[in-house]
C-alpha cells in the first residue's frame, strides 16, 4: 500500500509536467493548427537554465522565474521560425518545429554538455499515508494546479486571452474584428514556452535532465495533448496525470525502461478510441 501511494504521488508529479508540456502543445495547436514538437526541448532548457542561474547565486524563486521567462522567449523564437512568414502551411511549420527541436538539442549539448543536470530543489520529504514523498514532488503538483488555474483565468477573464480564444475559434472572424491572428499565434508559442519551461524547472530537481530527455518529455506531452483532443487544456491535464501514474506504475511493478513505450501505447489507444471525436471537433 505504501509503495502504491509513493508511485501514485510521483506519477501525479511526473504527469503534471506532461500536462504542462501538453497544454503548451494545445495552446499553440488551437491558434495555429501547428503541432509544436520543440516543446520538450524548451522544457529541458528551462530546467537547465534554472540550474545555471541558481548555481550563479541567484536566489530561489528568482532563478526559476528567470528560467521560465527565458523559455518563453525561446518559445517565441521558435514561433517566429515556424509561423513568422505569412501563409506558411501548418505542415511546413510542424517540420520547422522538429528542426528547431534538433537545433535546441545541439545548443543544450554545447552549453551544458551531455551529462544530466539537476538543479537544487525543495529539500526533505513528508509522509503521506505511510509513504515518504519528496517535498519537490508536492511542489510540482501544487505549482501545476496554480498554473492551470492561472491559464483558465487568462483565457476566460483577460481580453488578450479572449483574443487568443477567438483566434482559435474562428480565425476569419478574428481577422475581421481586427485581431492579428499571426501575432496571436506567436503569443501562443511564447505562452507554450513558459508552460514548457515551468515543467522543466519543476521536474529537473527530482528527474535529472539531459538532451536525451527531449523524446520522453515531448512524447508524454503530446500524448496528454492528444487525450485533450489538441483543444482542451483541462482534458490535457487529466491525460497527463493518467499518463504519469501509468508510467510510474509500469516502472514500479514492471520495468523502468518501459515508460516511454507505455506513453506511446496509451497515445495509440487514445487516438484509436477518440479518432471519431477528434474528427468531429476538427469539423466543428
Amino acid at each position: 500500500m505504501t509503495e502504491l501511494v509513493a508511485y501514485l504521488i510521483s506519477g501525479i508529479a511526473l504527469g503534471s509536467s506532461f500536462a504542462l508540456i501538453g497544454s503548451g502543445i494545445v495552446v499553440v495547436h488551437r491558434v495555429t493548427r501547428v503541432v509544436n514538437f520543440a516543446q520538450g526541448s524548451v522544457a529541458i532548457v528551462g530546467g537547465m537554465a534554472s540550474a545555471t542561474l541558481l548555481d550563479g547565486r541567484l536566489p530561489h524563486g528568482l532563478g526559476e522565474i528567470a528560467a521560465v521567462l527565458l523559455s518563453g522567449v525561446l518559445g517565441l523564437v521558435i514561433g517566429l521560425l515556424a509561423i513568422g512568414r505569412r501563409g506558411t502551411p501548418p505542415l511546413i511549420s510542424l517540420i520547422v518545429t522538429l528542426g528547431a527541436s534538433m537545433l535546441v538539442s545541439a545548443a543544450i549539448i554545447w552549453l551544458w554538455g551531455q551529462d544530466p543536470v539537476t538543479p537544487p530543489g525543495l529539500r526533505g520529504s513528508v509522509t503521506i499515508l505511510g509513504a515518504e514523498v519528496e517535498r519537490q514532488r508536492l511542489l510540482v503538483v501544487v505549482a501545476t494546479g496554480v498554473a492551470f488555474a492561472a491559464l483558465a483565468l487568462f483565457f476566460s477573464r483577460s481580453y488578450l486571452g479572449k483574443g487568443l480564444t477567438a483566434s482559435a475559434s474562428n480565425p476569419f472572424a478574428a481577422r475581421m474584428v481586427g485581431i492579428d491572428v499571426r501575432k496571436m499565434g506567436l503569443l501562443a508559442f511564447g505562452l507554450a514556452g513558459i508552460l514548457g519551461g515551468l515543467a522543466g524547472v519543476l521536474i529537473a530537481p527530482s528527474n535529472p535532465l539531459s538532451f536525451y530527455s527531449d523524446l520522453p518529455l515531448v512524447l508524454g506531452g503530446f500524448a496528454a495533448a492528444v487525450f485533450g483532443g489538441l483543444t482542451s487544456p483541462l482534458r490535457t491535464l487529466l491525460g497527463g496525470l493518467c499518463l504519469g501514474v501509468a508510467g510510474q506504475l509500469t516502472a514500479g511493478y514492471l520495468n523502468g525502461s518501459y515508460q516511454t513505450e507505455m506513453a506511446l501505447l496509451l497515445m495509440l489507444v487514445i487516438m484509436i478510441i477518440r479518432s471519431r471525436a477528434l474528427v468531429q471537433e476538427e469539423v466543428k
Binding site: S169, N170, F172, R175, M176, G178, I179
Partner: protein, 236 residues
Amino acid sequence: MLRIDDLVVRYGSAVAVDGVSFEVGAGEMVALVGPNGAGKSTLINAISGLVPPHSGTVACEGRIAQVPEGRQMFADMSVEDNLLLGGWSIRNRDLGEVYDLLPDLAGMRKRKAGRLSGGQQQMVAVGRALMARPDLLAIDELSLGLAPLVVAELAEHLRFLNRERGTAVLLVEQEVTLAFDVCPRALVLEAGRIIAAGPSVELAQSETVRKAYFGDLAVAEMMTGPTAQATTEVST
C-alpha cells in the same frame, strides 16, 4: 467617405473583381446587388482589408466594420464576449451603447453565441460590428437563411442606426427587393464589374437589369409593396 478606384482582386489567374470604382458618401445607404459569383463578397472583403487587392485603391475617411456572410460567430464564447471582441481595435469599448441600439442583445448577453438562432446571431454580428464605432457598416448578406419577419426587423434596425447615428451602410445582398427597399442607391455587379448604378427605384424598373439578373419577377411591382414583402424570393 469611401472611395473605391479601379479596384482589381484576383485569386491566382481568376479575376474576381475587375476594375470597380464607386463612392459611398457619409451617412449614405448603398446596396450592392448581383447574382451568385458576381464578386460581391470578394469586393466587401477587399474593402474591409481581409483580401489584398491586385491593383486599385480603397480609401476611407472613417472606420469600417463588417458584418460577414454567415454571421461568423465565436461560437463557444458568450454574446457579451463576441461583442467585446468587436471593439478589439478601439480603446474605449462601450457595451451600453450597443445595448441601447439593440436592446435584445442585453437579454442574451450570457448565452453562448453558437446556440442562438440565425436571426439572433445576425443581430450579434451587427452589434459586434457596431462595437468598433464604425463610420461605415459593410454588411454581407443580411438576409441569408433568415425568416422574412426577422429580416424586416433587422432592416428596421439598420434604418434606425443610419438615421440616429449617421452610420453609412454598404449592403451587399442577393435579395434584391430587400436591398432596394433599404438603400436609396444601388450598384449592380456582374462577373466582377459594375454594370449598372443609380437610384434603387430606377434600377428596380430597369428592364435590362431586371431581366438579366433578377429573372422575370416584377421587382418594380414588389417595391411598391409593404416592407414585409421585401423578402420575397427573387429568382436569379
